[in-house]
């Protein structure tokens, strides 16, 4: 299949990335060549193959649901581009 510009804009919307109109053509070309490469997989019949979901021969561990740290609000807020004393600050969401 081939990806057209509209589809790419839609996927970009899903990924929350604004795409520069001037770059859509080259992006379309690049992505189509990549998908052409990827679609070699269609040569293989995989009807009877189980998908590989974990490479490890072990299941994920579980642990007790208990607090192991805390009181680190300052550390968590430290790298925020916009904050007040207690919160991350974002553009207004609710009118």
């Amino acid at each position: 299949m081939s990806l057209d510009k509209e589809k790419i804009k839609h996927v970009a919307k899903l990924a929350r990335i604004s795409v520069d109109e001037a770059k859509v053509d080259s992006l379309t070309k690049d992505l189509n060549s990549i998908f052409k490469f990827i679609e070699q997989l269609n040569e293989l019949n995989t009807d009877k193959v189980e998908p590989l979901t974990s490479i490890l021969n072990q299941s994920l561990r579980s642990r007790k649901d208990e607090i192991s740290d805390g009181k680190i609000r300052e550390k968590i807020l430290k790298n925020s581009p916009k904050k007040n004393d207690e919160f991350f600050v974002v553009p207004k969401v609710v009118e």
Partner: protein, 485 residues
Amino acid sequence: MSNITSQSLSEILESIKSKQISSLELTQAYIKNIENAKKLNSFVTTTFDQALENAKKFDNKTNNEQLLSGIPLAVKDLFCTENVKTTAGSNILNNFIPSYESTVTKNLWNNGAFLLGKLNCDEFAMGSSNETSFFGNVINPVGDHLVPGGSSGGSSSALAADLTPATIGTDTGGSIRQPASFTGTVGLKPTYGLCSRWGIVAFASSLDQAGPMTKTVNDCSIMLEAMSGFDEKDSTSINKKKETYSKNLNDNIKGLKIGIPKEYRVDNMPKEIDDLWEKGKKILKDLGAHLIDISLPHTKYALPTYYIVAPAEASSNLARYDGVRYGYRSQKGKDLIEMYENTRSEGFGDEVKRRILIGTYVLSSGYYDAYYLKAQKVRQLIKKDFDDSFMKVDAILTPSTPNSAFKIGEKTNDPVSMYLNDIFTVPVNLAGLPALSLPAGLDKKGLPLGLQLIGKALDEQKILNIGYAFEKNCGYKNKIKKWWS
């Protein structure tokens, strides 16, 4: 000792232990080299003051019995380092200062080493030439205008140029082994789960592994021993007894069975790569190993599988960069959604955006089965190829890359030709196996070429042993002239 920095890590450790050199003198020697090597652009951040303090502290105490006593180390800028900027080669993390330390770097510091600086890499480790870094190209010390490989390109460049005695990188599809091959150094991708992923900026979580990059196989075993180990904070960390790789290093490989996969050839592969492979086979055979022809029939599907799995996981992992909690935030946009879109558009580079879009698409409604599920199934077949082969052999020998280091800019306009660089390294990540790239020879331009040894899961000791024996008998010499200083 004027040439201390050109020695191997194990030689340097001996000099420190016998007090022929102090940690401070050693650190000063590396700082001098780094200051003279700005042209290579291998460092994003240096931590000289802190390193000098740590060296002095080390020299004032008597305990030097640790694995990495008194050793300054620069590490890839994908490892979070407490209170030291960590960028992952991206504009979106250009101002990020972690308040925590990654487990593998903490393991190195707990073994007596300390931080010298953070090394350039492809943005979010997505690249094979270090050309996608926001902080610019890194130069390969083997020759001006050549790429150092990627994504751990700053690491390979700094190591080969004597700017750090050893280093660590991460390998999602070849990002340790390919740059090691391009610079004539040793690089190991460990078994998935051997080294903790906690505190490493995530790219593709089912493939990412941290590993050592060093000048010798012995150095590699020391570094692996120091950095590996079970970590509760990584849910895929393997809980097993810690191994002493360096103490158990053994060059007797008599009777070992080495698999030679017929599929590790590509169209237009230079004859030099074939010759190198033949040379490697002969060395191992002369040492008493048995060569066995094997088949890994799904090898050609590894890269297409990788380019579904890795971008899919990346699109999910990189969703966290939204300009709210940390990192860059765009000032443009009239509402929250536009703020997200502009932040991500301005903060990420082209290759990262391309992969996020591929990943978002293959996971999107209506396409999941055709792409992602299909890739998971083919991944199963690729793993089965290895499982079947390892019933018959102890290790597998292949070339590390289909070519030597290429020129800066040579492949940037054609993403698929860039991706093809990882054709021999990617299958190993998909199967979660360990693999070691060893310097093995030079091509006719005088550029380093590497051979790769692939092992069974958790069989690092065996491929290190084979590598150790190979190294002793290969006679590889790096021909790097310090043209940059």
